[in-house]
């Protein structure tokens, strides 16, 4: 998963690195391919090859976006969606960390939990949508449960792999210096396992967005996914495109914020 963000920094420029001008120029240069895509989009639309219905012009999309943003519609639904996605994710991280660390440190826990993980890990979690629908109906609870279940295993696995890979000498030294089991866990195992734990949580973050959007497509009466599908059903395509791009942007931004936090958390390792 770590293959994700952080492409190679553009070292092509001869400007000093931290000036504002450099950053601005770097950003524009880096994301200039998006402009190419925009041009292709507009060109296809103008050429008349593709109907404007299918490829609305970006001006209309932007104005629709602005209308929904200022109307409060978009913000309300975004807040609803994010609250679901983050409560499910937070639950998954708490429970998953506990389960993963228990698995790595206690044999009975491993024997109990590992078979469940092995069986359910490969299952596409979106298949649980009808199950949570039957269990908890169409309200918030069903989606939170879905996101919780979907995000749980990546966290468990990250914590387990991380904690399992801790150099045993570190653990032995801590123990021989008189640390208790819990202290060893807190002071040695968790910090050493942090990179994998954080990677697991990053996967979980991506899953939480996927599951949030897809469950809202299917069972919801608000939230961004619901907005997208109802706008699409109503044939209001420019607005639909606007919300879709907005959701993609939120997912991207969440991952960016997360990776900044992650790098801060792991800064002590670099030194």
């Amino acid at each position: 998963m770590s293959a994700a963000g952080a492409g190679p920094a553009d070292a092509a420029l001869a400007l000093p690195r931290n000036t504002l001008l450099f950053k601005l120029f770097d950003g524009v240069l880096r994301y200039s391919p998006l402009l190419v895509l925009v041009a292709v989009w507009e060109g296809l639309g103008l050429s008349g090859f593709v109907s404007r219905q299918m490829l609305p012009d970006l001006g209309t999309i932007l104005s629709e976006f602005w209308r929904m943003l200022t109307g409060g519609d978009l913000l309300y639904n975004t807040a609803r969606s994010l609250s679901r996605s983050f409560s499910g994710l937070a639950l998954a991280i708490v429970v998953g960390l506990a389960a993963g660390l228990a698995m790595a440190t206690a044999r009975p826990a491993r024997l109990l939990i590992n078979p469940v993980v092995q069986i359910f890990y490969p299952m596409p979690k979106s298949a649980l949508i009808p199950v949570v629908m039957i269990w908890l109906g169409l309200g918030d609870a069903s989606k939170v449960l879905l996101i919780f279940l979907g995000c749980l295993l990546p966290v468990v696995v990250g914590a387990y792999n991380g904690a399992r890979g801790v150099n045993p000498f570190l653990v032995w030294s801590a123990r021989s210096l008189g640390a208790g089991r819990f202290e060893v866990l807190r002071e040695v195992i968790v910090p050493a396992a942090m990179p994998e734990i954080l990677n697991g949580c990053r996967t979980a973050l991506a899953f939480s967005f996927i599951l949030m959007v897809s469950s809202e497509f299917l069972i919801a009466s608000d939230g961004v996914g619901y907005m997208i599908s109802s706008l699409g059903d109503g044939g209001i395509y420019p607005a639909m495109f606007a919300v879709i791009f907005f959701v993609a942007a939120i997912g991207f931004a969440a991952d960016r914020v997360y990776s900044v936090i992650m790098r801060r958390q792991l800064r002590w390792r670099e030194a």
Binding site: M123, P124, A127, G165, S229, A249, D255
Partner: protein
């Protein structure tokens, strides 16, 4: 073999890291069979608890119908062939999309590491596309390609493309220079170096990318089927859910668990096979 059962548990997070000096979880050889036995026992116990709980009224049988009812339903559907149609359709959509993504994504990743222009173009697209929730684009694909298999397969390919291309790019950049130089000094041509040196060295990462992408493809397939219908396991499950047919829903769950397990394990076998020469396999 069974000793490594826990290690193969999960491929995704496992960034090929050097084997730690003897894991402290004990039980290398002698306890391995015992471990396996206990774990199988846990699964069986869960099945029994499921069945007994539903039969004895501890669990509302609508919320969790007895396992035997679910299995009977699967048996019935297997007789009529419905299970195989659903499994086949889901598998076909997931694998076809995955294959398209691999056929496009791997060359893109390789080209990115070799050509500045390709890198300039795709690097920002990957860094934006990788983390964004691709399912959100589903209505666009429905709008463009209608609701039949085309849009499902394209959607799956779209969501698998990013992890594959990103992993291939990461794998083919920053390779150790020495093997490349020595191959060159032996007179290998650039194409030969690509096939004989670069790709084998990048293969573990490329395979990791494929192993990330395949489950994503399965998730996406199921969602597309739920949203657009057209049979497949997702389609049948959402139909069962809408008709409050909980036995049908859980039959779907059991089928998809089996399918997911099969597909993911097969890819692990492919990995072990392709990397038979690699230190990661011999441990």
């Amino acid at each position: 073999m069974s000793g490594s059962a826990q290690n193969t548990a999960v491929p995704v997070g496992a960034e090929a890291k050097p084997a730690s000096p003897r894991s402290r979880l004990g039980a290398r050889r002698p306890g391995a069979f015992l471990d396996l036995g206990v774990q199988v026992g846990v699964v069986l116990a869960l099945c029994v608890a499921w069945e007994a709980g539903a039969r004895l009224g501890a669990i509302n049988p609508f919320l969790l119908p007895p396992l035997t009812d679910v299995l009977a339903r699967i048996g019935e559907d297997a007789m009529s062939g419905a299970v195989f149609v659903d499994l086949g359709l889901t598998l076909y959509r997931a694998l076809f999309g995955f294959l398209i993504a691999a056929v496009i994504g791997i060359p893109v990743g390789i080209l990115m590491s070799r050509s500045r222009i390709v890198r300039w173009f795709f690097d920002p697209l990957l860094s934006i596309g990788f983390p964004m929730p691709k399912v959100a684009f589903l209505p666009i694909f429905i709008l463009w390609f209608d609701i039949y298999d085309t849009s499902k397969v394209i959607m799956v390919a779209f969501s698998c493309f990013f992890p594959i291309a990103a992993a291939t790019y990461a794998g083919t950049t920053g390779l150790d220079k020495w093997p490349i130089w020595s191959a060159r000094s032996f007179g290998a041509k650039e194409v030969e170096i690509l096939w004989e040196v670069n790709l084998p060295m990048a293969l573990p990462q490329i395979l990791t990318g494929l192993q990330v992408a395949l489950p994503v493809g399965m998730i996406t397939t199921v969602v597309t089927e739920m949203l657009m219908g057209g049979r497949g396991i997702g389609g049948s499950m959402i139909m069962a859910g809408r008709f409050a047919d909980s036995v049908g829903v859980f039959a779907g769950i059991v089928e998809i668990v089996a399918l997911g397990f099969l597909v993911v394990k097969s890819l692990e076998l492919v990995r072990a096979r392709l990397l038979a020469w690699h230190p990661e396999t011999r441990r």
